[in-house]
Symmetry: C2
Subunit: 794 residues, 2 copies
């Protein structure tokens, strides 16, 4: 078991003692009291669930200092306290089991192997005891919480009367009662009329916040969530991907819709101090829930076109971004909200200190990114997980329609329909049916599935164009095995942000399209608590320096996270691999060599069970049943491990016997070995407790799986007509060679020594591209093919 | 979509109007008011989340009466209200979507097809409107709750001031606030000293109960849960199943441990009105959580040997049962509990009305069964899901060690160790380590893995021996595909209970070892609410007559549940299938016929990937790679469907070339078809809301899967040495024929017409029996082999 606590701050004695006083655990006089008195006092505080000394003594009596000594014995007749004894005690308090997790004879061995911080001073003097206790309170339990969080969940702060919010070790603590939250809805008036009803669109906004008794103003974690009010079934609307590639003619230009004048704001008819609509929504994002008890409100909004709001869905437009930031502007006192949609009674976010962070994964993180690129005041930071930074990189690649994994046939129109939850209210839907139908038609034109080219439509949806406007500090989180929102979205945003002066952090994990807040091996929640305390409460915790710039999960060693300075910098050293008929090699080829493969993947896919996952597996496996459908090369077994970091660039020279063609590339780690699962396994259902009120999440961890023969590293696709650029099409002359040069999805991947780096070149990709029926024959000029691999060291 | 609401009671007009008054929705004068007034009043009550008329009007404005008419239009200018209009409205209120789920042109078509109750009176007069509203409140939403539950979750009862508890349609309603529950721990003194420390074992007991402001006493749902305080890792303790069968000599007799005198009860040193220890446990059972807001306390206890309690784990003994019922005795005022383990301050369950129901699945349901067989006063009913009724039927079968699925190598000693969570507290464990080690040794002797015979040890653990003592009404729930706790446990208990006068109900689903409280197709939670209101609050709701005796889920049609009078009665008609070399047939064989197969399954299993699930699949599949290892027969395709109901009995005459032998039998439905998954799919994560405070469970449903070629119906195993009985061993003479006759696991299974009934005879079963290395050759005398199949009609 390895525990990485990047957010644990190591402080000096003075600071430790001061903070122990802040949480009411010790008084200033503690340094002058006998060690055993302080230890006894601390231990009695470790069982807040027991209201009486008897109950606390019973709990203490269950602890051993060593094989021979119970803690109760020691407290009755104190002697010197060894470091080993203290850490035996500490580990038991942290939920580790003597004999099972650690050995009472050598607790420091376990502290070291699990990477828990400790002070080896031996014997433990009184000051060391107090600083050890401080350190212990900031150390993670077996279930992935700091010990102080665990104590708080068991009632440590139940009778706390000190200042709120409360910060300890730079992080906000659970001193707000979340059992009886204020749950309310307001309607924010956006400067939009997307449903063209002559009134500005009102956006239903859900707020969860603790009841604060004094005049404390608190910040808000805001999640813009288009799925918040439910989704529509879009199965019938998915595009047919059993299509031929088109010979492209022109690129679709934006039809500039004449901008209708924006209706005037509503006339305010009065002011309210209280909202009148109770939110019945259930919260859905564990990080927000965790922060609630720590003095951060949660705000959720579906945005235009979602149920109970005005407007229509437009999938990635500027209007959607304006809808998203309207909520921030209201929280920041710069826009109006009303208590209902009828009476024009204004309600202010008087509870909010004006500081906002946006959180969320996927489309939710995407809207956080969109909002940040406006530079909207009040938005101090975003934590964008698995976020799209350019919609072209979600639905397209190099002039091809390329679907997110498991989303064949989806596109911006389908997603707009999916999220247009106003449709769920029959009479409300009737009013905007036609306007939304027109919008869908416009989306279908603009997204242009025929060419797959980058055009004005996609350019509007490329948030990176406005990266220079970003004023918020940014945390990006992305899965290196995320084939839904592919890693390029994070990488290009990360690079684009370098032009700003803002703080930025990046966390890359080995998962797919998932949250990572609930893993014992990484203190993600603490990291974000530290970050949000710094950003929204201006706590001087030095968060930007404490947290690594880039945190990357190791793909071979479980529970291992590396801090590094950067990811995928453009100046990474590169290895240039050449293609020969026999192998992928660093030696330049000498003889001319040509190979062929055919694209009748659709036929074989149809014959088999039409399962995209299985198809991909069988396509990569050795031996493969798809040998004629691909050209595959491998390096010799590596003599040293190779750590790929960044964008592999592939150069291919290919001819095809058709007037259209595409190339797909897979880069693969070949070699028998155990690998991390791409989906974390549940360690304990509801084992991760978010607050003293008892809200939970599952406790999960990436686990090594049974040994496999290979692992996909990265991939990419290109339309041969787009060999010059993704926005420009050139004709493909059947039989002539054309050269393409393009980036695969960025990665960070360690190949073990003895493994082989493999590359597979083929044409249509059953899970991502269109699936032509026409059989095409491809020829590669190997001498002109290369793989340029950026690498680094751990 | 089909919705089965077995607990929906149809009442007369008078009763409906009276109950509508009880929940404060209408006054007695409503019958004299205009229909539109009543409808408007009702609709305004349907949006309790909106505190103002404006907010409610906005919600109402989203509803359509028909394609042309909004509800708002109607309320402004009322006309006659058609039944179709009312049910369009009703379906929208229930969360069904116009155009997607149902057609506004014919809502009654959807009502019929989904089996929702309705009154077709057309047009709707005022009285019909009121009774329609009553019916609507008791009807399920799309998310599996009654509409009144949905309203309650949205705040309908937030300002309710009437009597608590409140019953509507015979079921308790959510009028208790669960946001700020009393969560407390007491220590019940059991009449046991299983850890031999000279003091009676104290049992930590966790109580969750709503704060009740008046002197109302409430009943308790009690779940005895040995896993409640955590489990130990037992991987290292699993028994090696790569074993030869033993030639049996003697059966293990109980070594009668001299009964030590029970220590005297503790001297009471005082009385407390309040507990002093806060429970920090998180509740884990959704049915209990659901009932909490409805006026039923939840009580959890781990029992002897679990963390924070005294005693040791003994796996299924009388002591474990005594430990289980001690809690009930305390709830019922007949046993003492203390506020802590030190001070001997007594605390009474003064909040409890003395009525207790036990709930839980698997080991939890097992302890409910055990408790019921004591006839303990106060235990009014048990809801035992997937419960063991005899531990022999869990770990053994017909003189063989037969593991629960995925539990090879587990036994009573392993399970005792798994649950002995006192081990987690180092100093506490040190005190009882030796006593528990001795207990494990005794378990290992008594369980006797060498012979697998039924003996005194197992007889003590056969709760059915005491079935005549049961005084509680019993609900049994079991999965017909549960190969962990196999269906025999439910079936034999069901039969044994017939000797008592108690009410009994049985629910059989098509799942594995799962809970079924959260499926839209079955109102299990309502059924249990009706039952528990009847049992624990003495509500005259006629529950025993309202609910079917036996509710069985159809294995072919999704969302279909049948009520029937009994399951597996002994007088079911039977079809006798004979074995011929060519087929399983109803015709008596004429010619002698012998077949052979060999048992080298272990060798093949080791060669392959040692995956038990895949092994079983491949063993049954056609063609099978295990042809030489089995004898397989099928009937001709059935001309009519066949509904098997009860215990298939198999007779085999077999010889083996070894001094030991075993036979395993699989009965299989062969025929291509879609079948229900054995694990319900998640329809909506956290989509099933349990209370107004926002506690949730996933919403799930059994779904039809992609077509498969076969489905396992049932199975059984026998040791050839136990051909006379499971407790008596006879020698196996190599080469001689021996006859065995035994029941397979009971089932209820419909084979479609055109399918074939198959039987597979073999020896060692990789997933369940020991796996001998010695290759054995078996011979069957087909003329003496038969399959006796009980059947019924739907």
């Amino acid at each position: 078991m390895k525990i990485n606590q990047f957010a644990q701050i190591h402080v000096d004695v003075k600071q430790a003692l001061a903070e122990l006083q802040t949480i009411g655990l010790f008084t200033a006089g503690a340094t002058n009291k006998p060690l055993a008195t302080n230890l006894a006092h601390f231990l009695h505080s470790c069982f807040p669930e027991a209201a009486t000394k008897s109950g606390q003594d019973e709990a203490i009596a269950k602890l051993l200092l060593d094989e021979q000594t119970t803690v109760s014995d020691f407290l009755v007749a104190p002697t010197a306290l060894s470091a080993a004894q203290f850490y035996n005690l500490a580990l038991q308090l942290l939920g580790f089991e003597a004999g099972t997790d650690f050995d009472l004879a050598d607790p420091l061995k376990f502290m070291r192997s699990s990477q828990l911080a400790f002070d080896a001073t031996d014997p433990v003097d009184n000051t060391t005891l107090l600083t050890n206790i401080y350190l212990l309170l900031t150390t993670h339990t077996k279930l992935g919480l700091t010990f102080l969080d665990d104590l708080a969940n068991r009632g440590f702060f139940a009778s706390y009367t000190g200042p709120r919010p409360l910060f300890f070790n730079g992080k906000a603590q659970a001193v707000f009662d979340t059992r009886n939250l204020i749950k309310e809805v307001v309607y924010v008036e956006a400067p939009l009329d997307t449903d063209q009803d002559g009134q500005r669109d009102l956006l239903a906004t859900t707020i969860f916040r603790p009841r604060v008794t004094d005049d404390l103003k608190i910040p808000a974690l805001y999640t813009a969530n288009p799925y918040f009010k439910g989704i529509n079934n879009v199965d019938a609307m998915l595009h047919d991907v059993d299509q031929e590639l088109a010979v492209k003619t022109a690129t679709v230009k934006s039809t500039v819709t004449p901008q209708k004048p924006l209706p005037a704001p509503r006339q305010v008819a009065g002011q309210a101090n209280q909202t009148e609509k109770t939110a019945t929504d259930l919260s859905s994002y564990a990080l927000n829930d965790y922060m609630l008890a720590r003095g951060f409100a949660s705000v959720y909004a579906g945005g235009i076109g979602t149920r109970d709001s005005g407007g229509i869905r437009t999938c990635g437009t500027v209007e959607e971004t304006i809808s998203t930031i309207a909520i921030i502007e209201w929280l920041n006192g710069k826009r109006r909200a009303f208590t209902n949609r009828t009476d024009n009674i204004e309600i202010k976010a008087s509870w909010c200190n004006g500081n906002v962070a946006m959180t969320g994964k996927s489309y939710l993180g995407t809207l956080a990114t969109a909002a940040a690129t406006t530079g909207v005041p009040g938005l101090k930071t975003i934590i964008a997980e698995a976020a799209i930074s350019s919609w072209y990189d979600y639905y397209r690649d190099n002039g091809l329609v390329v679907a997110p994994v498991d989303c064949q046939g989806e596109d911006t129109d389908v997603l707009a329909e999916l999220c247009f939850s106003r449709q769920k209210d029959a009479a409300d839907y009737a009013k905007v049916k036609q306007v939304f139908a027109d919008e869908l038609k416009q989306l279908q034109v603009g997204q242009d599935r025929t060419t797959g080219n980058y055009n004005d439509f996609w350019d509007e949806r490329n948030y990176r164009n406005q990266a220079a406007n970003v004023k918020a500090d940014v945390v990006l989180v992305h899965g290196l095995n995320d084939w839904n929102v592919k890693p390029r979205n994070a990488e290009k945003m990360w690079q684009a942000l370098k032009q700003t002066k803002n703080q930025r952090k990046l966390i890359l994990h080995q998962g797919q399209h998932i949250y990572i807040n609930n893993m014992p091996s990484l203190d993600f929640t603490d990291m974000m608590n530290l970050w949000l305390s710094y950003e929204l409460y201006d706590v001087a915790n030095n968060a930007p320096a404490v947290l690594p710039n880039v945190t990357i999960q190791d793909n071979l060693q479980p529970e291992t996270w590396h801090g590094q300075h950067d990811w995928a910098p453009t100046d990474r050293k590169r290895r240039l691999y050449h293609f020969t008929p026999a192998s992928l090699t660093l030696d330049e080829p000498t003889d001319a060599a040509f190979v062929t493969f055919k694209d009748d993947n659709r036929r074989l896919f149809d014959q088999h069970e039409q399962n995209e996952t299985r198809w991909l597996h069988d396509f990569i496996a050795e031996p493969t049943t798809y040998q004629a459908q691909q050209f595959r090369l491998k390096t010799a077994p590596l003599t040293q491990p190779l750590v790929i970091d960044g964008n592999i660039v592939v150069t291919l020279q290919a001819a095809v016997d058709q007037p259209t063609g595409m190339l797909s590339v897979l880069v693969v780690d070949y070699g028998k070995g155990q690998r991390l699962g791409e989906v974390p396994a549940i360690i304990e259902r509801n084992g991760y407790q978010l607050d003293p009120a008892g809200k939970t999440d599952n406790l999960v961890e990436f686990k090594l799986q049974a040994a496999t023969d290979f692992k996909l590293i990265t991939r990419g696709h290109i339309n041969l007509q787009n060999r010059v650029s993704r926005s420009t099409s050139l004709p493909v002359e059947p039989g002539s060679f054309h050269t393409v040069n393009f980036e695969l999805q960025p990665t960070h991947f360690q190949l073990a020594a003895g493994h082989q780096l493999g590359v597979i070149v083929y044409a249509s990709d059953m899970g991502m591209t269109v699936r032509p029926q026409t059989v095409a024959n491809y020829r590669l000029d190997l001498n002109a093919c290369q793989l340029s691999v950026p690498f680094t060291k751990h």
